[in-house]
Symmetry: C2
Subunit: 158 residues, 2 copies
DNA sequence: GTGAGATATTTCAAGCCTAAAGTATCAGAG
DNA sequence: CTCTGATACTTTAGGCTTGAAATATCTCAC
């Protein structure tokens, strides 16, 4: 007689595998992130967080609220304030008080910001193609779908 | 007559897919990391970097050099110095000047550090099982192998 | 043994990041 | 109108992170 159902044993061993998966995912992400950080600094004297912010603003040419940015980028409000401050200092972004609500400020890229972002984005895309080039094209699709499913599932619950 | 070989077109479209994959991977990692960070803070008043350092030291009960730690964790030397400083202040880690070489210091967990890490590690494993529970067990294995292959490939080249 | 370059670690300045507290504004109940 | 709670944003304290400069020590050719 077996004292533990097989399904439970399966779940347990699956959990070990999940832990291993997480560690590998974290490590892979860090390796690629470190490489991107280094290249952004070297070629554009910029950073990943700045790139992320500019990328979000590029897609929303009308501009975004600070709170939209922090929600979209999954970072805190105060964090966005600092990054935007530095982008404004560099002339890549402007804060505007447009609508009636005096609490909000709409931030958007300046023409100079658009130009800078486009150059960075082109390089970024080439770098990713190079860095992930070792992953088989068929597997890229599978993997991408899995991660998308994970995230949809997560957001459904939270 | 086709001006661009099909293989090139394939490579191009695969690159777009790789970019999407990277963005999804980064986002998934951030979601899970944010959740872990929050729980480590809430339940153990600790952080992810501290957990990583303690995890490395736990596996090497004889202790590690600062430079071994920074190499293993993929972070800079100066970074490790700060994290170890705080762990020492908390009584979880000791720096020892053992061998002949007066430049190096061997850091290792104290009994209190071992005890604290074991409690955190148990919770951490449960959390990962919960957070990645939505991923099918068969896919976990596939995914894990892919990432392992990616990293081996990367380290072969760098 | 001694001087040059290599190695181990720390310090520093600057930027990223969070949670929590602070400021200003808004919206709605009464 | 005015009070109350919600919302948008900034500020602050503390920790993480890097790359580069600073210290200290080691190694080894001479």
């Amino acid at each position: 007689m077996v004292s533990v159902p097989l399904s439970v044993i399966d779940a347990r061993s699956g959990d070990k595998e999940r832990l291993r998966l997480w560690i590998r995912m974290l490590r892979t992400t860090r390796i690629v992130e470190a490489e991107l950080r280094e290249r952004l600094k070297r070629d554009f004297n910029s950073t990943l967080p700045r790139f992320d912010v500019m990328s979000a603003l590029y897609r929303e040419s009308e501009g975004m609220l600070m709170s939209d940015l922090s929600r979209f980028l999954l970072v805190s409000n105060g964090n966005v304030t600092g990054i935007i401050d530095r982008l404004v200092a560099d002339g890549y972004v402007v804060r505007a008080k447009r609508d009636g609500d005096k609490r909000t400020s709409v931030v958007r890229l300046t023409p100079s910001g658009v130009e800078a972002f486009e150059r960075m984005a082109a390089a970024h895309e080439r770098w990713i193609a190079e860095l992930l080039g070792g992953v088989d094209t068929a597997e890229v699709h599978r993997l991408s779908e899995m991660l998308h499913a994970f995230r949809s599932n997560w957001e459904g619950e939270h």
